[in-house]
Symmetry: C2
Subunit: 596 residues, 2 copies
């Protein structure tokens, strides 16, 4: 019943016109994805997402996964076929280096494609999504042999990957984890323990599953300093890397969840499973964060993806559902009532989603470009700056885009009235699926702490200052342009609020750390608003140039309206965030625990 159309034209506008994708052609891989080819790649991705992957979305929610008595898990009808088409089309390996069987294309292109796929079917796309994170960790921390053994198969998608972090008593606080690793003396370890919430832990879509597992080597220090990362292959491998006997890792049960029913979320039991250290002994947390950072951007993208597909369905319903008359006079007098899109409050919902989604897409692609520069440039200064901004933006994209993606799925559901509450229409699924993105890969409160407690002060605040300078200069450069003034004014006001909040934190969080914690979520969202507002500034500027030079179209005209909506109706929230931040921790922390 739901529909999805990949926003290819918008992606191309952002990449080609706003972000100047062609300027990066000197970076490895970019020449292989020229603007013409980019167009073709996104077109093909759109077809797959719309025609193959999306039609499986409601099926997946309805059927869910099934665990059998022998511990095997069956995915919903059609999932394996959909995954095979994705895999065989080479979509898994877009950005994987060519030496490991990938296509070496920009991460930016992978990101653009991943948005479409997650919009089409979030639960299905988690199987390859987790694999990407596992590949990243192996490429960064694995030995040459590990890379050669695992990555090509994973890039091809015949093997998939997982991340095994959480245990029943330990989620955020990984220092508490108990899973044990005992050296066998021949370079291997016996891994024992229980992991929970393991996405894609067991399923029927790939020949083998590569588990990356955090565990504590016998005698290791307590806390996070004693954690190591291991590779545990579902099937043991012989010397040539061929599949051998079953390893002692199994799915004990499937979690009954609020959403993403099509994804198998497993309790995984390790019973002296054969595992191999990846990276340094006791260096597991560092290796894990490679996966985690990759995954956090992917989860932020899921937030946008769900907000986008929910928006599209709300638009379709608002154009089709006839109810009431426009307050300014009948718009469809030949019909019994007007379509509800004529009503301002319905428009408010649609415009909120749209204004956010288009800027969110720009911010994700802007950040993905930073990732490409950070990993592929040979100019040290460029690499450092890009890496700074990538690290800074990661918690913001994860936290803000998933909070808003959920909020917008709820908003889209609201447009459907009572019909939105009925499962058949699919709007409830978007809400239920979007909900998890605020939680996993570090709940959004943790993202906020990462921003305030780590990223803000890192290298003397270098990343933040770089960002403030870029946005400030953009405002200054366009201040005198009367077409741009309405946009730079709102953006500058937001930037001022953000800088004031940053100053407040510097002055008040050192002597009283609770002030940082108390400010963190508001600071995250304040930062997000300014980053999104900056994207609107850039998009509007480009649209105006297009219109001025005669190459503009209705897309560009629409950008001016939507950008104005953002500045008028979304940007003013920065002041409330600043007020809350400046209130400090006192009233938040004053109640004694037993008063609750």
């Amino acid at each position: 019943m739901t529909t999805y159309k990949a926003p290819v034209a918008d992606t191309l506008f952002i990449l080609n016109d706003v972000l100047g994708y062609e300027r990066y052609s000197n970076l490895p891989g970019f020449a292989d994805a020229s603007p013409d080819l980019l167009d073709a790649i996104l077109g093909e991705a759109a077809k797959l997402a719309e025609n193959v992957i999306h039609p499986l979305n409601q099926v997946g929610d309805h059927e869910g996964c099934v665990r059998h008595a022998d511990g095997s898990v069956t995915t919903p009808t059609g999932f394996k076929d959909g995954y095979d088409q994705y895999r065989e089309g080479g979509w898994m390996s877009l950005a994987i280096p060519e030496e490991f069987g990938g296509q070496g294309l920009p991460y930016t292109v992978h990101t653009a494609v991943a948005e479409y796929m997650s919009s089409a079917n979030m639960a299905l796309m988690m199987y390859p999504g987790l694999t990407q994170g596992a590949i990243a960790a192996i490429l960064e921390h694995g030995s040459d042999e590990q890379k050669q053994t695992f990555v090509p198969k994973m890039a091809e998608g015949v093997w998939t990957g997982t991340m095994n972090l959480t245990e029943p008593h330990c989620g955020t606080d990984l220092g508490l984890l108990r899973t044990k690793a005992v050296p066998t003396g021949d370079g291997a370890y016996k891994i024992s323990g229980q992991k929970i919430f393991i996405s894609a832990g067991e399923h029927d879509m790939s020949e083998n599953i590569i588990h990356l597992v955090l565990a504590r080597i016998e005698g290791a220090p307590e806390g996070v300093k004693g954690i190591s990362l291991f590779i545990v292959s579902k099937f043991k491998l012989d010397a040539d890397g061929n599949l051998g006997e079953r390893n002692a890792v199994s799915c004990g049960s499937l979690e009954e969840k609020m959403g993403i029913h099509g994804n198998s979320t497993c309790v995984m039991n390790y019973d002296e499973a054969e595992g191999y250290l990846i990276g340094a002994e006791n260096g597991g947390l560092k290796a894990m964060f490679v996966m985690m950072n990759e995954a956090r951007l992917g989860v932020g993208l899921q937030g946008l993806s769900l907000g986008e597909v929910a928006y599209q369905n709300a638009v379709a319903y608002a154009k089709e559902r006839l109810q009431g008359r426009s307050i300014s006079g009948a718009k469809s007098p030949d019909k019994k009532a007007d379509p509800i899109i004529v009503h301002p409050d319905i428009r408010r919902n649609l415009m909120n989603m749209r204004a956010f989604n288009e800027a969110g897409r720009a911010l994700i692609l802007w950040t993905a470009l930073k990732s490409d520069v950070a990993h592929r440039s040979d100019v040290e200064a460029d690499k450092q700056e890009a890496d700074d901004l990538l690290g800074l933006m990661t918690p913001i994209i994860k936290g803000v885009l998933t909070d808003k993606g959920f909020e917008h799925a709820v908003m889209a559901q609201q447009v459907f009235g009572g019909h939105g509450y009925i499962e058949e229409h699919g709007m409830s699924q978007f809400v239920r699926d979007a909900r998890i993105a605020m939680i996993y890969e570090g709940a959004n409160g943790i993202q906020a702490l990462d921003l305030v407690g780590r990223k803000l002060a890192l290298n003397g605040g270098r990343a933040v200052q770089t960002f403030f300078k870029e946005v400030g200069e953009f405002c200054e450069a366009n201040r005198a342009d009367e077409n741009m003034a309405p946009f730079t004014k709102g953006l500058k006001k937001g930037l001022n609020d953000l800088q004031a909040a940053t100053m407040w934190l510097m002055q008040n969080a050192m002597q009283k750390p609770d002030n940082a914690g108390a400010a963190s979520t508001d600071y995250l969202h304040l930062f997000g608003l300014v980053a999104l507002g900056y994207m609107w500034g850039r998009m509007v500027k480009t649209a105006q140039e297009k219109i001025a030079d005669g190459s503009g179209s209705s897309i560009h005209e629409a950008k001016l309206v939507t950008g104005r909506y953002f500045m008028e109706r979304i940007m003013p929230e920065t002041a409330a965030h600043l007020a809350r931040i400046s209130a400090g921790a006192d009233s938040m922390m004053a109640l004694p625990e037993d008063a609750f």
Copy 2:
């Protein structure tokens, strides 16, 4: 797995100390519920809610209702027994007039009790809840015979009631409805048509079901002017009111919904069912609004109820879950980690919910008292003022308390991290159940339009002016009190924003009605913040008086902290609402429909 404890002490503080319940003892029914008796009634209600009704909540979600081939519907295990205990305890009939078998107690007392029951089990309490609305409509618009025939049985709870408004093509816009009523010549009508989303339309808990059905009498005018209200009894009644043969009304199917699985939401088919006009011919909309207004307050209450029970469970989890160390130094050094309630961002979630719930409870009880005065006072001026404020506050309570109730259920779920997403913990159910309250009995966008388009200008703005005056005088009276200044300052700022928004609407909505529609939701929430802030002012004032005269306790100390939190962290949102309202409709409405 979930727990619930009725907040009796807080209800008593609000009723007795803040709102001066005893001052109303001259109103009918109030003398029968003296403060002592009130205490006893709430205590008994708490026991029933906590020990009988709440334990059925997760069962209801898990099992749902089942429709059998013959059209009958079975409710979840234990629901009938729970309902019977509720019914036999006389909880149905608390505020029903004594002449119709009720107890004639204040509606305020009924409201206090209803909060507990809905917190305990929203889906179960919808069966009696809908019955209350049907009773109200019959008492207001029914003939003496209809009142005598139906109300005593419904007050006793052996018969239940429903509201049948929505049809597949017509929800908000009732003018489109098609259900037909053909006079039979003997005073009855044959009702034919299909109704959807009918809560408690068919079930096994009562001997008979009294459907109040909107339909169009043959030859009636088009639109809402041609709608009449009918009583259709599931079993026809003989001359003595005894149950006779089955009427031609049946449940065609149950909707598969996101939540409230324990409530049977039916498609109801009327196939020349015998019905009787209630109220005037073509006067159905007016009669329906009696039910609707009652129901809207009830739904607002559901928002609070769900926010409260979700909050309580989040508090319990936050005290028990050990994860990480306090940023200001270990609080439980003897344990492996501190309980997560030590973390400011967790506190932020808890304090947001708490600050809102306590004020929401006060606002609902304040409004319920207005309802009692409006219906029971014999002083005309008091009645009018109370009725004005009741009408004004109804859309605010419905819209704001359900938006926030849902938001807080989501917030409470977030405190649980990954465990919140697992159905077993029950937090997902609170979110899924709370979601419907934003939609039914008029989606919240409709509440906002009711406020801006109808209530605001009614009688020359009399209600709004009364409210502004009351809040303004409260600020003025307490401005000089230095203990109160931090509270009156925030409240006054909010009131100023609300008055500025009201002025803007008066100046800009007449010549351009889209400006009213574009402002409506923000205006609703802005109004809600001021109303809740006013409740905080009143509560803090009372708490300070208690503390000053030596009768204060930890409850009163906590009010000062929570009230300050509200003023520092929630009240500042009024400025963003005002900014959005003042932006007008232009950027919201400018995009052509085909640009979406």
